[in-house]
Structures are given as C-alpha cells and as structure tokens.
C-alpha cells in the first residue's frame, strides 16, 4: 500500500468501515510512515472534536415530559 491509497481510505479506517484485511494493510503502512500517521491523527482529532462539541446538547427536559404525557393519552 502506498501513501495515496492509505489516505484514500482514511475516513473509512477511522469510521471502522473497512474489511479486516484492508484495515491490517493500513495499520502496516502507518507503522512505517510518519507523514500518514500525522494526517490520520489530525483527522481522528477532528472527528472526536466534532463528536464532543456536537453532542454537548440534549433534548430539553420539558420536551421529554410532554412526550411522556402524550404517550399516556394514547
């Protein structure tokens, strides 16, 4: 696997969507390619950042109560 192929699969790898074989090839490549590792680390950080910031907010408690009341009326 070369760097180009490795980077092409970057998101699928981080999303855990690759076949075990391909995942292993990527891991092998990363084990001896610091530039690719750096790019992977950056994107990994980015995805974790979006997840953390994006899920900070939940449904308002009043909405939950309204729905529960509505279920009782059904």
């Amino acid at each position: 696997m070369n760097c180009r192929e490795c980077v092409d699969h970057l998101y699928e790898y981080l999303d855990r969507e690759l076949t075990p074989d391909l995942e292993r090839e990527i891991r092998d490549h990363l084990s001896h390619c610091p530039p690719c590792v750096e790019q992977y680390d950056f994107e990994d950080l980015f995805l974790k950042f979006v997840k953390a910031r994006g899920s900070a907010e939940g449904a308002p408690p009043a909405l939950r109560r309204r729905i529960l009341e509505e279920l009782l009326d059904e």
């Binding site: 950042f49 979006v50 997840k51 910031r53 994006g54 899920s55 059904e74």
Partner: protein, 199 residues
C-alpha cells in the same frame, strides 16, 4: 381416560402499559439524538421540539410494527426525517439549491500542518461555533455529518435513513467533513486564532 389438554392461550398482545414501557426503554432513550438532528434540520428549537414530538408520537403509534432488537435509533431517525421532508421543509421560502459537485474540497490538515503542529486550533473553537458551521453545510452533507460524526451511525445505517447507496454516504461524508473544516478554518482566521494562508 385422558383429560383433554387445555387449549394453549392465544398469543396475547402487550398491554398498553407493557407497550409504553418497552417504547420508553427502546425508543425514548434516543430522544437526545432525535432532538440534535431535528435542531440541525429545522434550524430552531421550537420547530425541532415540535418535529421530535410528532415523530415520537408516530413511532409510538406504529410501535407494534417495530421489531425489537433491530436498530431503533435508525428507525426513529427515518421517521423524523420523513416528517421533516413532508411537513416542515415545505414551509421554507427558499428551498435549498446547491450544486453539490461544484464545491471544492478543502483539506484543513495540509494547511494546519504548516504552522500549528500542536493542533491548538481545536481547543480555541467553542461549541456554538461548531454547530453554526454544521448548520452552514448543504443539507445533504449536514445530515450525513450529523448521523455519522455526532450520532455514531454506521455507513449502512446512514444509507438506510437517507435512502441513498453507501457510496453516496461516503462521498457526502468526505465532502461534508472537508467543508466543515474549511468553515472552522475561516472562522478561526477571522477571530485571529490562526493566521490565514499567505496570498
């Protein structure tokens, strides 16, 4: 003489109480996810609450058709999205028309690598700004990014909710993420957190 065996009881439908309890346990636990997605779709809290409430009610009414043990979150998000498309989006005065193919992918990494190896970039951007940037994405990308990056659905699950092939999910995620990076980058430059690309 053998006594006739008593007839086996007919399979009983769940009582309203059992039904409600199972709905609360399997469906209502995804309320936060539904609300977050609704908020990004509608763009305001009041509409998001109405949308979620209506989606939950519809889900409850068809709860008997949902197979326990399958993906309740995806099922609920599908209901929510249909409701949004059919009832809420129509109200918009300016339906979105963006040619998704004309958008330039932007790789934040290549730029950041030049001047900010510590990635301090991320630490300076606040929650609101991330969500505002997500809101600016075209709807097709926004949905994919929310479902994957915030709600953690697999490509296959997202494909089902959005009713598109898995390949489309992948390309929307790729472009949506790159676009999100570009927006955050522009924001960080405008705030003076980082220096812009030299022209």
């Amino acid at each position: 003489m053998a006594t006739p065996s008593s007839p086996s009881p007919a399979p009983s439908l769940p009582s309203p109480e059992e039904r409600r309890v199972s709905f609360e346990r399997e469906a209502l636990v995804h309320l936060d996810s539904l609300y977050r997605v609704a908020l990004r779709l509608t763009g305001n809290a009041a509409d998001a609450e109405d949308l979620v409430q209506e989606a939950m009610l519809r889900a409850y009414r068809s709860w008997d058709r949902f197979t326990l043990g399958t993906n309740a979150k995806g099922w609920l998000l599908t209901i929510l999205r249909h409701l949004f498309i059919n009832e809420y989006r129509r109200k918009r005065r300016h339906p979105e028309s963006v040619d998704l193919d004309t958008i330039e992918p932007f790789a934040l990494f290549e730029d950041r690598q030049q001047q900010d190896p510590q990635r301090a970039f991320f630490d300076r951007i606040v929650d609101d700004e991330v969500l505002r940037a997500v809101d600016q994405l075209p709807e097709a990308f926004r949905e994919a990014v929310m479902l994957s990056d915030v709600e953690g659905l697999s490509y296959e699950e997202i494909a089902k909710v959005l009713e598109v092939p898995v390949g489309t999910v992948k390309s929307r995620l790729y472009r949506g993420r790159r676009m999100l990076q570009a927006k955050l980058y522009d924001y960080a430059v405008s705030m003076g957190y980082i220096k812009g690309r030299s022209t």
